[in-house]
């Protein structure tokens, strides 16, 4: 992306700024606005309610109204808070989730940074959030916030292990760290997706399917925990810790935590899509190819990518409105005693199958 912009403007700085700002304004903000609305609608309809109905058609503009309200709100900083850290924390959390978008390929033509180590970069940068949360919880000088931050740090750090192992499995299978290549391998039909054994045919493809499903489940559960969603929303468990690490935040700073959460939700869904569900590839081939309109293909890819991502975001919401939350020690229990052993066994079996490919 940066290269294209650089060619157009002929100026590195301008190209940098635009390349950096583009995902924020074109994608993350609209998506977060949409996702907050979707969450409210999904929860409402699951609970036999209507949800927001007033602002716009079925309340689609509700989030914009909310954001306007949040911007106008007084920015309260507790007297006893550590002001520097308190102000830095939401920015850090937001930056963490925002930075992950740099390596996500929305289509074959649009990638923030087509780094060879894309997936590795995402794992690294998403743990950035922990620092922000810890900072916010500590700086608030509030006991609930502190407890929430401690829980969050423990949780995110532990759940990175199973997700990293599953990602390792996939990397081992494909032999690449580049997310664009991941997508390219799973060419344009759904039976080439890794959840269905990946491209190619023969016995190994079918042998892989159950292990791919296990891998997918583990990755889905652990990413759910990484973005603090129910049943793993322990850091902000509202019935115990009021609001967890962002108890003391208000106004736009609170909105930044909120935006980061929804941004993160899409980021992890995108990773899952890329690893198991064909990335930006269409499940049924491209209209652009069949009608010979080459410029249509990338647009279709963006559509499919967002579509798949939103489906996983929807499932996250679906889970949230179905399940109670775990306790903090049970959370660790699930991670260390269930997810990690299963993902290890999965890794070994997939490795053996790969040998015979």
């Amino acid at each position: 992306m940066y290269e294209i912009l650089n060619n157009i403007f002929g100026n590195q700085a301008v190209a940098w700024i635009i390349a950096a700002a583009l995902p924020l304004f074109v994608f993350i903000l609209p998506f977060a606005l949409f996702a907050v609305w979707l969450e409210r609608k999904v929860s409402a309809h699951m609970q036999d309610r209507l949800g927001p109905m007033r602002v716009g058609w079925h309340g689609v503009l509700q989030t914009i109204a909310d954001i306007l309200k949040l911007i106008q709100k007084e920015d309260i900083i507790p007297a006893e808070a550590d002001k520097k850290l308190f102000n830095l924390a939401p920015i850090l959390v937001f930056a963490g989730s925002y930075a992950a978008f740099a390596a996500i390929p929305f289509s074959s033509k649009y990638i923030g940074s087509n780094a060879e180590v894309g997936i590795f970069y995402i794992i690294a940068v998403s743990s950035f959030v922990v620092a922000g949360i810890l900072m916010g919880g500590w700086a608030s000088n509030n006991k609930y916030a502190l407890l929430g931050a401690m829980r969050s740090a423990a949780q995110i750090v532990s759940y990175e292990i199973p997700s990293a192992i599953v990602i390792l499995t996939m990397v081992m299978l494909t032999g690449t760290l580049s997310l664009d290549k991941f997508s390219q391998i799973q060419t344009a039909y759904f039976w080439n997706w890794f959840i269905l054994g990946g491209p190619g045919d023969g016995l190994t493809k079918f042998l892989l399917i159950p292990f791919m499903i296990i891998g997918f489940t583990i990755l889905y559960i652990s990413t759910l925990a990484e973005v603090n969603r129910t049943p793993f929303d322990i850091p902000e468990a509202e019935s115990e810790l009021v609001a967890g690490y962002h108890t003391e935040y208000s106004g736009m700073k609170f909105a930044m935590f909120f935006l980061a959460e929804y941004g993160n939700m899409f980021a992890v869904s995108a990773v899952i899509t890329l690893l198991f569900f064909g990335g930006y590839q269409s499940p049924f081939g491209y209209l652009g190819n069949s009608f010979n309109i080459p410029w249509l293909v990338p647009i279709e890819q963006v559509f499919w990518f967002t579509f798949k991502g939103i489906i996983f975001v929807f499932v996250q919401m679906w889970l949230r409105w179905t399940l109670p939350r775990l306790r903090v020690d049970q959370l660790m229990h699930v991670c260390w005693k269930f997810l990690i052993p299963y993902s290890f066994v999965n890794l070994i079996i997939v490795g053996i199958i790969t040998l015979f490919r």
């Binding site: 999904v42 409402a44 309809h45 699951m46 609970q47 036999d48 309610r49 209507l50 109905m53 489940t217 679906w318 889970l319 409105w321 179905t322 399940l323 269930f338 299963y342």
Partner: protein, 199 residues
């Protein structure tokens, strides 16, 4: 071995019960909502609904029974007896009114909507309506004044009654004194015409 069995059972149960729950919530996605858009759509209240009190002053005889029944003392009634010759009319169920109701205040902010005031009323003039939206910015505005008489009228009625009682007292005193001394009775009788006339 048993532990291992339990381990797999736990894993299975964990996944299975989550799926069962997800099925339930997914089904509800397609169930029509039970909530309504309140100020636009309103539920029809049942006929016995207990909301804001209303007093039909045409029927009130000022018997004070509602105020006495009220557990939170939110009803304040003051009455003045009518003097003979005043016609207050009758209530709709044929009772003759004998009292001017000079004050009938209900502090709706205090009211607990228990309906205890409604039952003792002999003329069924106090009852609960179906009005439930009457919030106010000032608490004082929630004191509902039902008395129909104006302040001037109230003053007048009070004066009338005072005079009437004074007259009566005077008559009684006169009657008493009549037997003892006729001279004082004369003096009293002279005073009489100076008093203002009643309506």
């Amino acid at each position: 071995m048993n532990g291992l069995k339990q381990y797999f059972k736990d894993t299975w149960l964990g996944i299975w019960t989550v799926l069962v729950g997800m099925k339930v919530t997914f089904k509800h996605l397609f169930v029509p909502a039970v909530t309504i858009q309140y100020p636009d759509v309103r539920v029809k209240l049942p006929e016995r609904a207990r909301n804001r009190l209303y007093v039909n002053m045409d029927d009130c005889i000022g018997c004070d029974q509602c105020a006495r029944a009220c557990p939170v003392s939110c009803i304040e009634i003051e009455t003045v007896k009518a003097v003979p010759g005043e016609d207050l009319g009758t209530t709709s169920n044929g009772k003759k009114k004998a009292l001017w109701v000079t004050k009938f205040d209900i502090d709706i902010a205090k009211c607990c909507y228990c309906q205890l005031c409604v039952f003792p009323c002999p003329t069924e003039c106090i009852y609960m309506t179906d009005v439930y939206e009457f919030s106010e910015y000032e608490r004082q505005n929630l004191v509902y004044k039902f008395a129909t008489l104006t302040e001037a009228e109230v003053e007048e009625k009070k004066k009338n009654f005072e005079k009437f009682t004074a007259e009566k007292e005077a008559q009684k005193a006169a009657a008493r004194q009549n037997s003892s001394a006729s001279a004082t009775a004369k003096a009293k009788a002279e005073q009489k015409p100076e008093q203002p006339k009643t309506e």
